[in-house]
Each structure stands twice: as structure tokens, then as C-alpha cells.
């Protein structure tokens, strides 16, 4: 889908590690407000794609433009400043601190730029923002709990909440529900997607669970061996022969057992 209202334009992305081709011929346009699901077997290039868009990995070739500005070569920090955030497959949080402290740091970094960083961090303004986030993500009951003592699901919620406080325009979630029990997945995603919808954030998330994909996305990108083999609405994607063979086929076989 090529669209003149697209905010993220990825062109001819290539990533090689020596002889290994991790990503090839990646061409994608993402529009404001879209919710996109990224599917594919393990090692298909999904996380590599997320790493490149967020600046953790530099593509070997190609360009990634966000609202016209080139992202390649900027690094994670500048890309975050530009308005793109991400969450992590294994939650990356500050394990010796409480949930509130984690969020306060995220909020402080997002709000206290430049010389402000030398001012007091714990201000009433930041505190009210903290309360808002805790409420939105239903983290209030655990707000004073130390992260290392928390369950996986809460940690992932925190991980995502931290990525959101900088008010990104694009958010990439890397396997948000992995490690969360089947019964809790939908509640989890309801909380997350509900909060994100309120802010009109464009979301791309990597996901293995097709039910989750079907329920929340308007568009699917299917990866296989480093290339995008399908780019279409979820119903079409799940019915597509290539997707069935190289992505879902394996998963459905697992499920049927």
C-alpha cells in the first residue's frame, strides 16, 4: 500500500551479517493511525526489522524515512526523540527499582530535556503524569512493588508503559504477549491497545498468536527468510497461500495437536 499520507517510508532495506541475509528488499509504507501486525516464524527477520527502524541495528543498505526525515544512522536515542518508541520481547526495565520509580525515570527523560535534566526530578507535574500512566495501564496496585519481584505480565505492561510516556507517534511492540498466559492475553492487549487508541498512536507489533493479530490489527506484514511475503488486511493474509505455508501452517499444526 503506497499512500501519500504515510508517515513511515521504508525503502529497499537490506541487512546482512557476513554471509547471512537477515533482511532483504523490505519496502513498506505505514500511515498515521494504522495498527499493523508483523508475523513470521522465528528468525524470519521481524525483530531485525524492529531493531533497524528503532536504530539499534544499522541496515546494510536502504532508507527509513519518518515524516520525511532519514532515520538511518541516527541511533536509538535520536530516533526516540524523533517520535518512535519500542517495547521489548524480554522486558527491559530497571529491576532494582519500583514500578513508580521506573515510570518516573521514563517520564523525566521524556520531559526534562537539556538543562532541565539538572533540575529536581520529583515534581508535582511529573507526579500527576505518573498517576495518569498508572491508571491507564492498570498498574496502580503494583506501583510500589520492586520490579524484580513482579510477574512477567506486569513487567511487560510496565515495559510498554515506559515506551509510551514519551508520547511517540509510532510505537513498535516486540512480542507484547509472549510469556503471558493464554487466559490473560486478551485482557492484557485490551489494556494496551485501549490506552494506545486514546492517543492515536500508530502501532506495529510483532506477534505469534494469530487470534491476537486478527482481533487488533487492520493490516498484516508477513515475514519469511528476511523478506516480506505478504502485506494485506488480516483476513486476506491468513487465507494467503504463501502465508499459510511459511508462517501459519506451522503454527496451526502445533495448535491442532
Amino acid at each position: 500500500m503506497r499512500n501519500s499520507s504515510s508517515i513511515l517510508k521504508v525503502r529497499n532495506l537490506l541487512k546482512t551479517f557476513g554471509a547471512v541475509v537477515a533482511a532483504k528488499d523490505i519496502n513498506v509504507d505505514i500511515s498515521q493511525g494504522e495498527i499493523v501486525g508483523i508475523i513470521g516464524a522465528n528468525g524470519a527477520g521481524k525483530t531485525c526489522f524492529v531493531n533497524m527502524v528503532t536504530g539499534y541495528l544499522a541496515p546494510t543498505e536502504g532508507s527509513i524515512k519518518f515524516e520525511g526525515a532519514e532515520l538511518v544512522g541516527l541511533g536509538t536515542r535520536k530516533i526516540t526523540h524523533a517520535g518512535i518508541s519500542r517495547s521489548f520481547q524480554v522486558s527491559q526495565v530497571f529491576h532494582s527499582m519500583t514500578v513508580s520509580e521506573n515510570l518516573m525515570i521514563a517520564l523525566a527523560i521524556a520531559n526534562n530535556r537539556g538543562a532541565d535534566a539538572l533540575g529536581l526530578m520529583d515534581t508535582p507535574d511529573l507526579r500527576s503524569k505518573l498517576d495518569e500512566v498508572l491508571k491507564r495501564y492498570k498498574l496502580e496496585p503494583q506501583k510500589d512493588a520492586t520490579v524484580s519481584a513482579l510477574a512477567q505480565g506486569v513487567r511487560k505492561l510496565l515495559d510498554i508503559a515506559m515506551a509510551v510516556v514519551s508520547k511517540p507517534r509510532i510505537l513498535l511492540l516486540d512480542e507484547p504477549t509472549s510469556g503471558i498466559s493464554v487466559e490473560e492475553k486478551f485482557d492484557f492487549m485490551d489494556i494496551v491497545m485501549g490506552a494506545l487508541k486514546e492517543d492515536g498512536v500508530t502501532v506495529l507489533f510483532v506477534e505469534h498468536d494469530m487470534e491476537i493479530v486478527e482481533r487488533y490489527v487492520s493490516r498484516v506484514l508477513a515475514f519469511y527468510q528476511g523478506e516480506i511475503i505478504a502485506d494485506m488486511p488480516p483476513k486476506d493474509a491468513l487465507a494467503d497461500k504463501k502465508v499459510q505455508e511459511f508462517v501459519i501452517g506451522k503454527e496451526h499444526h502445533k495448535k491442532k495437536k
Binding site: T54, G75, T76, R77, T80, H81, S85, R86, Q92, V93, F94, H95, S96, M97, M104, I105, A106, A108, I109, A110, N112, D116, A117, L118, G119, L120, M121, D122, M162, A163, S166
Partner: protein, 313 residues
């Protein structure tokens, strides 16, 4: 800046100590001078330690500060206490700022080792240079305050206490800013901090520079308190080791900790030397191991436990 418990305690303690010092015997005044001088360096190392960084070479900056005073004295005849202190802090701080550009890209054992290497380079230079006093070092003339030469050590003692107070209050404030709060966050998860949008390299550079300024100031004060400088007790890697020991002994919990830890160290050393000169290192080493195994939060964590930490917020 003054409305938290720590700040209030610091102000009160400084007052009590300054007043008490006027009546205390000389040996107590000396302990406090040496202890508080060293505490300045520990304050800086504490900030680094909270960030997950241990320098095994801060004697470099400590030594720079001390020798800056000595050279200023012997070559330029500068005797003013404040000029000397400023010189020590500035020389060390500039060096630390420049070296910080490289240092901020290192972690763990490499950070520790690079600092050691640099400090031993200075040690090697001073030890072999006659004009710098070589292994004997040299004496420093008494410090003057606004042109007046004091009769006793008391004025210097007060100045050192006030410098310590100022540094403690400043670091206490720093630790409440966004920059300062990033110490434990960086230690826990550097990648996340970058992803949230903050430059870890910048943060570490700032902390490193702060620690070098403090270490330089500490060296200057120590030189003035002792009245002499020498490389073996100020620049050698064993001195860096001592600084690390006191940092761990004190614990990272609060800016008050370095002062308590440094005093304990001073008292311990004096008595150990009197009772059993052959056992000082043994005591230090055994204490080190005990803290690492049984009290990783240092003396401060003990104080917190005994005081029964009440939740203010």
C-alpha cells in the same frame, strides 16, 4: 535544597562539629580533618558506584590535587587555603573532564583497569622525578586564610568541615535531579536508558568529572592537613584501593555515608597502627571481605536498619 532529612542532618552535624572542634583535643581534630578530606573523594566514588562503575585509579586525581597544592606552594609561594583548594579541584577536574571522553565508553573491569593504568603512569612519573620530590615527596608550608596565618589547626578544620558540608549538599541535590537519578537506572539497564532518549555516555561523563573534581579537592585538603605530599601515600594503586575500600565500607545509600565511613576508617587505622602495626592491612582486608559478604550496603545500611527506616512519602 534544604527541605529533606539528609540536608537538615548535614547542617546540624556541621554546626555541632564546628563548635565541638573548638574544645576538642588536637588528635580528634586531626582525625576529622583527615577523615573529611578523604570523604570528599568517597562522595564522588559513591556516585560512580551507584552507576555500577568502580574506579581503581582515583588516586590519580587525589594525587593531582595534592601535588597541585605542593607545586603551587614551592614554585609560586601560594599559601591561601581557598586558592589551594581551588587549584586542586580545578586541575583534577580538567584532567578528569578530558580523560572522561575516553572513560565514558568503558565499563566493568576495563573501566577499573584503565583508571589504574593512568594513575600508575602518574605514579611512575612522580617517583622518578627529582623536582617533584621523587619518593620522599615534600613538605607544604602552612595554609593562610585571607592572608592570616592561624595559630592552630582549628580554622583549617572548620573550613574542611564546611567544604564537606557544601559538597554533600550539592551531591545530595544532584542525586535528586534527572541526571542524578540515572545512576541506578544506568547500572540496571543501560540500553533502556538510551532507548528512553537519554545519552548514557553524557551521564557517565558528567558523573566522572564530578568525581574527579571531588577527588582533586580531597587531595588538596589532605595535603594541607598533613602538611606534606608523597607519591606512596597519595598516588600509588594501593591508595586507590583504600579509596574503594572506604566507598564500600560507607555504602551507597546516602551522602552522609562517606563521612561516617571515612571517620570510621581514620579511627580504625589510627588504633590498628597503635595496637598492632603488622595487622592494619589484615583488619582492612578482613573488614572488606566481611562487608562484601555480609553487609553489601555498607555501614549506612546498618544505620538504616538500626534507625528503623520510616517511609516519609
Amino acid at each position: 535544597m534544604f527541605n529533606d532529612r539528609t540536608a537538615k542532618f548535614l547542617l546540624l552535624a556541621a554546626l555541632v562539629i564546628c563548635v565541638g572542634g573548638a574544645f576538642a583535643p588536637n588528635w580528634i581534630v586531626n582525625q576529622f580533618m583527615f577523615g573529611f578530606s578523604r570523604a570528599l573523594a568517597i562522595l564522588g566514588l559513591m556516585v560512580l558506584w551507584r552507576t555500577g562503575l568502580v574506579s581503581f585509579g582515583h588516586a590519580f586525581y587525589f594525587g593531582l590535587g595534592a601535588y597541585a597544592v605542593a607545586i603551587l606552594d614551592s614554585k609560586l609561594g601560594v599559601s591561601d587555603v581557598f586558592l589551594r583548594l581551588l587549584a586542586g579541584a580545578v586541575v583534577a577536574g580538567v584532567a578528569g573532564f578530558l580523560i572522561g571522553f575516553i572513560m565514558r565508553n568503558y565499563r566493568d573491569i576495563f573501566f577499573a583497569m584503565l583508571n589504574t593504568a593512568i594513575s600508575m603512569v602518574l605514579f611512575g612519573i612522580v617517583v622518578k622525578t627529582e623536582s617533584l620530590g621523587s619518593t620522599d615527596g615534600f613538605a607544604i608550608s602552612a595554609s593562610t586564610i585571607f592572608g592570616l596565618a592561624p595559630e592552630t589547626k582549628y580554622p583549617l578544620f572548620v573550613i574542611i568541615t564546611l567544604v564537606g558540608l557544601t559538597a554533600a549538599l550539592a551531591v545530595n541535590f544532584y542525586l535528586k535531579t534527572t541526571f542524578g537519578k540515572l545512576t541506578t537506572a544506568i547500572r540496571d539497564n543501560e540500553i533502556r536508558v538510551e532507548y528512553l532518549g537519554f545519552s548514557v555516555a553524557h551521564a557517565i561523563h558528567l558523573k566522572y568529572t564530578i568525581s574527579t573534581i571531588l577527588a582533586g579537592g580531597a587531595g588538596a585538603l589532605m595535603a594541607m592537613s598533613l602538611g606534606q605530599v608523597d607519591p606512596e601515600s597519595m598516588i600509588n594503586w594501593t591508595v586507590s584501593g583504600e579509596l574503594v575500600f572506604v566507598t564500600i565500607l560507607s555504602g551507597p545509600g546516602n551522602v552522609i555515608a562517606p563521612f561516617i565511613g571515612s571517620l570510621v576508617f581514620e579511627v580504625l587505622r589510627t588504633y590498628a597502627f597503635e595496637l598492632a602495626p603488622q595487622a592494619w592491612q589484615l583488619i582492612m582486608g578482613a573488614t572488606f571481605l566481611t562487608i562484601i559478604f555480609f553487609l553489601p550496603g555498607g555501614i549506612w545500611s546498618l544505620i538504616e536498619k538500626l534507625g528503623g527506616k520510616k517511609n516519609e512519602k
